[in-house]
Symmetry: C2
Subunit: 316 residues, 2 copies
C-alpha cells in the first residue's frame, strides 16, 4: 500500500490521516496553518520531500483559498507524486492544478462527511465510514491517480461516487452549500426574534441551524469557492421560496411547497433504504470511466477494487 | 390534582395524556379522528361529559382545522370546564374560543416539542421533559385557567414560557414554521439534482430536511394556521436570501450572510448554556402577568408553582 502524505491536518485532513493509518498505511503530513509563515512552509516542504522520496500519494486537505499556495510547494518539492485532494469543490482545484502542475497525475476527491467542530482534535478515524467520497472521473483523469484516490477512499471506509467535476460542483451546491446558506438565513431570522423566540426553539430550528455552529471562515471558503453552481441553486431556492410566499399571501395555502418538500425528503430516504445490486466494471475497458459516471448518476457507488475490476453497487 | 381530559390523541395529545398520568393525574380522552363521523363524535361527547362531571381540565389537542368542531362539542357537553389547548398557533384558537365559548375560562398553551413521526404510537410520557411550553398570559386571561394550564405543563415535565398570543405566534413563525418552509425548499431543490445529488447528501442536507419527514397535512395545518406571522417571517427570509444572492453574484462574497447566521446560532447556544437566576413572582400581585410576560420576553421560564408564587428562572 502506497504511503499517504496529507497536507492540511484539520477535521478532514486529520481524519484522512487517522483513517489511512487504521487501514495499515504509512502516513505522514503537515499542517497548513499560515503556510505563508516560513517555519510552516518548511514543515510542509519537508513532508513533501519525504513524499517524493517514498513515492507517496499526496493529499491536499486545505480550504480552497490555501490550495494554490500548497500546490506551489508541491510543484517545487514533490512534482511527480500522484496527487489527489479532499477539497469541497472540484473545478476550481483542477484549474489550480492545471496552472501549477500541468503534468500532474491528479484525480480530485471529496469525502461527503463533516461535523460542525473543526480542527485536528475534532477528527477521527471513522469519520468516513459508509460515507460517499466523490472521485473525479473525467476522460482525461489520470488512471493511476484515479486508482490511488479510489483506494484511499475505500481504505478510509468510504464508498466512491464517480462523476465529473462539473456535476459534483452542481450537486454539492444543492445538497451541501445551499443548506449552509439557508441555515444562515434561518439562524439570523430566528435570532431577530430575540430571546423569546430563541427560548421557544425546538427541533426544527435546532436541526436547521446546526451547521451554523461551524467556523464562518470554513463555510465561506466552501460556499464562495463554488460560486457559479451555488448561484444557480440559490436562484432555484429563491424561486421556490417566492412561490411559497405568493401562494401563502394569495390563497393562504402552502400545499405545493410542503408536498414537494415531503417528496424530496422521501426520495432521499428511498435512496438510502433501497436494496442494491452489485455490478462489476472492468477498468481495462476503454469505456470504463463512462460506465462509472453512469453508476454515479444513478446514485450508485464503488464498493471495492478487485484487481482490474471496480465492484459497484446500483440502487435496486 | 385536577383530572385531565385530552381531546385529540395524536403525537402531542397522546403524549400529554401519558405525561399527565406519569405525574399521577387521572387522565382520559378521545381521539378526534374524523370528528364529523357520528361514532367519533359520540366518543368525544362522552369524554367531555365525563370531564363536566369530574370538573376536569379540558385540553384541545387537535390540528387547527379541527379546533372549531371540537369547541362546538365542548360548548355542548362541558361548557363550564377549565379549558386549555396545545395547538401550534394561539390567536386563531383564541378567536374560535371567543366565538364558541365567550364565557370560557380559557388559557391557551403550546408545548415546543415534537418529532417527525405522528400519531398515538409516536407519543411518549417524556416528550416534554425540559421543553418550553408557552402559556398565554394576557391581561384578560382567566387566572384559574392560567394556573391549571401552567400546572399541567409543569406536571408534564416542561418549563412554562409566559407571553402574549401575538408574540407567541410571531416567535413560532420564526423558529418553527419558517424552518419547515425552508426545509421544504431545501428538500425540493436537493431532489431536483437527482440521484447523484441525493447520494452525496450528508449531514447538512439530512438535518436541514428532517422535518419534511412529517406528514404534509400536519405541517400544512400548522403553517397555514399562522399565515400572517409566517408571511412576515418568510418575507424577512426572502430579503436575507436575496441579499446573499446579490452579494454572491456581485462580489462573490457571503460573509455578511454567514456571519449573521453564525451569530444567530451562537445566540441560541448562549441562551441554552446560560446560568439562571431564580426569581419568585407573587401571583396575587395585580401586575403579576406583566412581570411574567417580561420574564418570557427575556428568555426566562417558570419552573414551578409554590402556593401563590410562580418561581421563574431568568438567564443570567
Amino acid at each position: 500500500m502506497r504511503p499517504v502524505c496529507v497536507v492540511g491536518l484539520g477535521l478532514i485532513g486529520g481524519s484522512v490521516l487517522r483513517a489511512a493509518a487504521r487501514a495499515g498505511r504509512d502516513v505522514f503530513g503537515a499542517s497548513d496553518v499560515a503556510v505563508a509563515d516560513p517555519r510552516v512552509e518548511e514543515t510542509v516542504a519537508a513532508a513533501l520531500e519525504r513524499a517524493a522520496r517514498e513515492d507517496a500519494l499526496v493529499v491536499i486537505a486545505v480550504p480552497l483559498p490555501a490550495v494554490d499556495e500548497v500546490l506551489r510547494l508541491v510543484a517545487t518539492h514533490a512534482p511527480s507524486c500522484l496527487l489527489t485532494d479532499v477539497v469541497s469543490v472540484k473545478e476550481p482545484v483542477a484549474e489550480a492544478v492545471a496552472r501549477r502542475l500541468p503534468d500532474a497525475r491528479y484525480a480530485g476527491g471529496h469525502p461527503m462527511a463533516g461535523r460542525s467542530a473543526s480542527g485536528w482534535d475534532a477528527g477521527s478515524a471513522d469519520l468516513f465510514d459508509g460515507a460517499a467520497w466523490v472521485v473525479a472521473t473525467e476522460e482525461d483523469t489520470s488512471p493511476e491517480a484515479w486508482r490511488e484516490a479510489v483506494s484511499l477512499a475505500l481504505d478510509c471506509g468510504a464508498q466512491v461516487v464517480p462523476t465529473t467535476m462539473r456535476e459534483h460542483d452542481a450537486a454539492v451546491a444543492r445538497i451541501s452549500h445551499l443548506p449552509h446558506v439557508l441555515s444562515a438565513v434561518l439562524a439570523a431570522t430566528g435570532a431577530e426574534g430575540g430571546s423569546l423566540a430563541l427560548s421557544l426553539a425546538a427541533g426544527s430550528f435546532t436541526d436547521g441551524t446546526r451547521v451554523m455552529g461551524t467556523r464562518p471562515e470554513l463555510v465561506l471558503a466552501m460556499c464562495e469557492g463554488n460560486r457559479a453552481a451555488l448561484l444557480d441553486a440559490v436562484d432555484e431556492a429563491l424561486g421556490r421560496l417566492g412561490a411559497a410566499r405568493g401562494s401563502l399571501a394569495s390563497t393562504g395555502g402552502l400545499a405545493a411547497t410542503i408536498r414537494a418538500g415531503h417528496e424530496g425528503r422521501q426520495a432521499l430516504e428511498d435512496l438510502r433504504t433501497a436494496g442494491s445490486e452489485e455490478i462489476p466494471i472492468d477498468l481495462t475497458d476503454p469505456e470504463a470511466f463512462e460506465t462509472l459516471r453512469d453508476l454515479g448518476t444513478a446514485g450508485g457507488r464503488v464498493l471495492r477494487l478487485d484487481g482490474d475490476t471496480a465492484v459497484g453497487a446500483l440502487p435496486a
